[in-house]
Amino acid sequence: MIGLGAVYLFAGLVFAAVAAASALDRTNKPRWLNAGFWGLLAASFLFGDVLGDFGNGVLVLSLVAVAGFGLGIGALATTGTEERRESARRFGNKLFFIALTIPAITLAGSLAFKYVFVGGAPLVDPAQVTLVSLALATIVAAFIARAVLKQPFPAMLQEGRRLLDLVSWAALLPQMLAALGAVFALAGVGGIVGGLAVQVIPGESPLAAVIAYTVGMALFTAIMGNAFAAFPVMTAGIGLPLIVTKFGGDPAIMAAIGMLSGFCGTLTTPMAANFNLVPVALLNLTDRYAVIKAQFPTALMVLFANTVLMYAIVYR
């Protein structure tokens, strides 16, 4: 059965190749730091399951220490704008088709692999079809790109490294924040914040309960970076006891709109790094919070709409 193990092996090899290419790049002054950073990430993907919990902890802290010294970007020999324009005219819309093979194959795989069995067992771990499909889509697209574009051999690796070095330590932020969430859970942070919220927020009328719940979901999500962490705490603290039990509201409406109020919080917080900070790096934006600023007014207005909507229909 193909599962996470195969995906992690592939990822480990890609990051190891990036690390090796970083080490060889004399145009990048801190090249050994870059090599160390991507090399440690490769080690995490390749050996994470045999390092043990403490070993993995030391690995993470080493990654952080290396990144703390400041990663660099090499002066890579890529193509210039004029060259790219000419090449764009030559390849035309083929470029789009290759780019779109990634989402297309990911999608097809995540739908189809559920029905593929070999000798009675599923070919792909049913819980991991999307990730396996994404890795497969990347490999297929890489072969197509290689066949169509006919670039010199190391080009793809170097271009991948160019983008990874552009994202730099922000690439690791989503995974780090997920791990921080686990430490928060261990230390009982969610319970403490939820308890405070329930104490501080008045929920003495049907309207106040709705406001406390939607705004509380958004704020708590902004702090934790994840609506899934906020939902159980706020629903157990305010949603169920007040909106449903005390004032007789509909639990399905409460939960659905409550979760979407949490998503408004996700749009406003650097804690949701994969949505709000990684694109800043990918798009070369100078303001680290540019994406959050673009989303903030929408988040506030949708939160307001959710509150009005919930009050209007939850107590029907």
Binding site: V64, R84, V183, L186, A236, T266
Partner: protein, 223 residues
């Protein structure tokens, strides 16, 4: 109360724009120690969770292919295509992508979007090129704002579309949590009640994109 110090570290660190992963690691150590755990336990818990969440970073594997396509002129091709379409404006492109992203997420096709696969190589250059074709001296600040909006549209479309799909994780979480507390709800009713917010979110954000478009027109006229 003391474990909340970790949140203080995060807020202060992000506000001061320090190195993000340094801030997060410090917050994890502070939180664990403040909760009375010993250092080795905190490091082990952080390492264990980091290892279990490796799947989060798998999305970056697409970058070599995207990079190779960029080397061959993918972004320039996106610009050429848009420049040849007279009706294409930055606002319209972003609105159309918002609609596609939201509808496709609503029917379970969440993997059709994404910042590395769609926004950087296609949507952001298209929107930027559309604005540029109307105003060749587009200020850098407006360029960056358009790009930031391209990322925002991907997020907003995904967030307020995905909950309409019955088999998404958040619906399962809501149903499971309510069931634990003795309240039974149908997954279908959860997904149906996500529709009004989805419509509101689309209307609100599309209106904001319309205003962005007007601001862009303003920069054209002032020239």
């Amino acid at each position: 109360m003391w474990p909340l110090l970790g949140i203080v570290v995060v807020v202060a660190g992000f506000a001061l724009r320090l190195n993000g992963i340094l801030v997060v690691a410090a917050a994890a150590l502070v939180t664990g120690l403040a909760a009375g755990l010993d250092l080795a336990t905190v490091i082990a818990a952080f390492g264990k969770a980091f290892n279990e969440n490796r799947y989060v970073s798998v999305a970056f594997l697409v970058l070599p292919v995207i990079g190779a396509l960029e080397r061959a002129g993918l972004q320039e091709r996106a610009r050429q295509l848009i420049a040849s379409l007279k009706v294409a404006t930055a606002g319209r492109i972003l609105m159309l992508y918002l609609l596609i992203r939201q509808v496709s997420a609503a029917v379970g096709l969440l993997s059709l979007g994404g910042h590395a696969t769609m926004v950087r190589p296609l949507i952001a250059p298209m929107a930027e090129a559309a604005a540029e074709s109307r105003n060749s001296a587009l200020p850098t600040q407006m360029r960056e704002r358009i790009r930031a909006h391209a990322a925002g549209v991907d997020n907003i479309g995904a967030f307020f579309g995905e909950d309409i799909f019955v088999a998404i994780g958040s619906i399962l979480l809501m149903r499971g949590f309510l069931e634990q507390n003795g309240v039974l709800v149908e997954p279908l009713s959860l997904s149906l009640w996500a529709i009004p917010t989805a419509i509101a979110a689309f209307a609100i954000h599309a209106a904001r994109l319309f205003l962005l478009e007007r601001t862009l027109r303003g920069t054209e006229k002032s020239r």
